[in-house]
């Protein structure tokens, strides 16, 4: 069985939470006791005579009181074919960072559009963020079809508009489905109200959409998380490098380059759960042994020799600023890429990205909450990386404020 991670985006009130609620409800993934509480709550907030399915994901008191999604909620459901992990992300512009967070490790974005309003500024913003996060596939759900008499014309117009807009981005794949989250049309079951629509329901789409397996085919990357040295009598000289294969694959006997020390050695042995294996692939947690005694510690990267991996102390990236406090020039930061950490500074803010049209604008030198900017970063240690569009694992990082320890920015190397 496969695992698909997706997130929902869209304007406030476009029906994201309702859609997820509907998906869980109609696929019978909600337990009766939870439904009971929902029915009670729906009455107490007096929103609707029916159950308010949005209450399923709005799990914090403040969210229920204000009737909005503030933070990412994770929901799970399983069908015979797949397990799904859903990140329900907030639509408000002031929670852009939470949306970026929810989107970061998913394979698919579902962007909701209210059929009455068509593509809005928010639709553009969410699509552009999906584009920056490198989501391989965007599904546009044209929702609230019940409020436009299930009119095919309305659907086609929005589809056309979005397709036109998407051409300015480099979204790899875009699909469209007309739905009504409230009435359930085309969410799980096909609907008689939409006889002109021949495609799959949302549920069928999710069960069959191809999951991008980029990491399998990419260049081979491994990073050390932890050094295992039992130092017991029998295992006196045991020294294994524990970590996960980030992308590609490694074999016993492979000649590898070790960064940032920039030395070469050979893979002597790969262990997985106590067994020796010949080869390990993207995603697998392993312990690697090498034949030379060189300086390897947490954060060290292994790649095949003569590889295209970049190793620099200065590089350019797009960052999304996530802290309430704006960036201060000279601010002391730590950069973390997987398990690698180094002191870092933002040397220059090159330009600002308008997240409504994806154009670069001159920067005024500031970096505020939810801003996207192209910046130049300088690290104290050499960073081993790929461009994000080539590798999501080695091209992404976070910035931590050394003082407050908060995660203040997320970045993709461009």
């Amino acid at each position: 069985m496969e695992l698909l991670r997706f997130f929902t985006a869209g304007n406030v009130d476009d029906g994201k939470s309702t859609l997820i609620g509907r998906l869980l409800y109609d696929s019978k993934s909600i337990s009766t006791d939870i439904l009971e509480t929902l029915t009670k709550q729906s009455k107490s907030t007096g929103v609707d005579a029916n159950i308010d399915l949005a209450l399923l994901t709005d799990g914090l008191r403040a969210e229920r009181e204000q009737g909005i999604t503030i933070d990412v909620a994770y929901k799970y459901f399983t069908t015979d074919k797949r397990k799904f992990i859903i990140a329900d992300t907030p639509g408000h512009v002031q929670y852009t960072r939470n949306m970026f967070t929810g989107a970061s490790n998913t394979d698919l974005a579902i962007v909701l559009v209210d059929a009455r309003h068509g593509i809005t500024e928010q639709t553009r913003r969410h699509s552009i963020i999906s584009n920056i996060v490198g989501i391989p596939h965007v599904l546009v759900c044209i929702n609230k079809m019940d409020l436009v008499n299930y009119d095919e014309e309305v659907y086609n117009k929005i589809k056309e508009d979005y397709t036109h807009f998407a051409e300015s981005l480099n979204l790899k794949k875009v699909s469209f489905i007309p739905t009504s989250a409230l009435t359930g049309d085309n969410v799980v079951k096909h609907s008689d109200n939409l006889p002109w629509y021949q495609g799959p329901s949302l549920f069928e789409f999710l069960e069959t959409v191809e999951i991008e397996q980029d990491f399998k085919t990419q260049e081979s990357r491994f990073q050390v998380q932890y050094v295992i040295r039992p130092q017991t009598e029998q295992l006196h000289d045991y020294r294994g490098y524990a970590g996960s294969i980030l992308s590609g694959s490694f074999k016993k006997g492979d000649k590898i380059a070790v960064h940032p020390v920039d030395l070469t050695t050979t893979i002597e042995k790969i262990e997985k759960f106590g067994q020796e294996v010949e080869e390990a692939h993207a995603g697998e947690p392993v312990i690697i042994h090498v034949s030379d005694n060189i300086d390897i510690s947490r954060g060290t990267t292994f790649v095949p020799v003569n590889d295209s991996l970049q190793t620099e102390k200065t590089f350019e990236a797009i960052v999304c600023w996530m802290d309430n406090k704006s960036f201060q020039p000279g601010q002391k930061l730590l950069l973390q890429q997987n398990s690698f950490r180094s002191k870092a500074v933002i040397k220059e803010i090159d330009n600002k990205i308008n997240i409504y049209n994806f154009r670069s604008e001159p920067s005024d030198g500031s970096l505020h909450l939810n801003d996207f900017c192209k910046v130049t970063i300088k690290t104290a240690e050499t960073l081993s990386f790929d461009e994000y569009t080539n590798n999501r694992k080695t091209g992404s990082f976070i910035l931590i404020n050394e003082n407050t320890n908060n995660t203040v920015a997320a970045g993709v190397i461009a």
Partner: protein
């Protein structure tokens, strides 16, 4: 990769991040299926090395004897360090009011003992087996969840958590709660137990037990802590436990499931959530879990 392999790989990755980022981590071990899975995952993450953390159990005194026995055997068999601290001692030391009423719960009291043991050993990270599918406040919590000096969770101040990059940087006195199986559901846990052939305490499987029925129709087992009322009818029922919490606040479910396969079949059929079926403590209010977490709970 199969979905269970992916969930396993994610959990192992997180465990190794804990080992790499913290000085004095601990694994909170309850004797329940989720923490038993955590131990199994830790074996996969660190063997042939030792665990880079001790197992820590907050013993409420209301635990099922089968769970305690399992705990002690496991620690011995694995030759890993086990630290046990008792809620009864905390009650004495701090002169606290023990649980009262028909089902005298120590569920709230264990937070004191937990915070004390964290202070005693200066743990900077505590690994727990909580899952996001259990409860809607949990669905909002990060995998690395920073707690202040008082163990408090502030849902409004959560750090953004991106990709699989975990920021465990904290100040002296703070600690991080880490939830490696956040993305697993109850069914995932059972499918994993089956695949890995993990042994569990016997109370997860069907057995005959003397129980009384509560006003909500739940089966509570009769034991030395429960204050029976004259109207209570003691019945022998075939039950099993879906979660192994305290005897005083965990209900049994009627079941004939002898094997893990039986349990999986049963769960696929059931219409009631794990907490709904078994917990008496979350019914109190809509935000019960959110509030307890804000107070330092797991």
């Amino acid at each position: 990769m199969d979905y269970l392999d992916q969930l396993e790989a994610e959990a192992i990755y997180i465990l190794r991040e804990v080992a790499g980022q913290f000085e004095r981590p601990a694994l909170l071990f309850s004797g329940g299926k989720d923490s038993i899975c955590l131990v199994h995952l830790a074996l996969k993450a660190f063997r042939p090395g030792k665990f880079p953390f001790p197992l820590v159990h907050v013993d409420t005194g209301h635990n099922f004897p089968e769970a305690i026995e399992y705990r002690d055997n496991l620690a011995k068999e694995l030759e890993e360090k086990l630290i046990v601290r008792y809620v009864a001692d905390t009650i004495k030391e701090k002169n606290l009011q023990d649980g009262k009423g028909k089902f005298p719960s120590r569920n709230g009291l264990q937070t004191y003992t937990l915070l004390d043991v964290i202070n005693e050993f200066e743990f900077d990270a505590c690994i727990g087996g909580a899952r996001r599918d259990e409860e809607k406040a949990r669905a909002k919590e990060r995998i690395f969840s920073v707690r202040d000096e008082f163990g408090q969770w502030d849902p409004k101040k959560q750090r953004p958590e991106l990709w699989n990059i975990y920021n465990g940087k904290i100040d002296q006195g703070e600690n991080v709660r880490v939830f490696p199986i956040s993305n697993w559901t109850e069914l995932d846990v059972w499918n994993y137990i089956k695949r890995e052939n993990i042994q569990l305490p016997s109370i997860y499987f069907t057995h005959e037990r003397e129980c009384i029925k509560t006003e909500h129709g739940q089966w509570m087992n009769v034991n030395e802590f429960v204050q029976l009322e004259p109207t209570d009818k003691i019945e022998k029922v075939k039950v099993r436990y879906r979660t192994v919490g305290d005897m005083t606040c965990t209900a049994a479910v009627e079941s004939e499931a002898h094997t893990v396969d039986d349990i999986i079949a049963e769960l696929k059929d059931t219409k009631i959530s794990e907490r709904g079926a078994t917990r008496m403590d979350d019914r109190v209010s809509e935000a019960a879990m959110e509030d307890r977490k804000k107070g330092g709970y797991f």
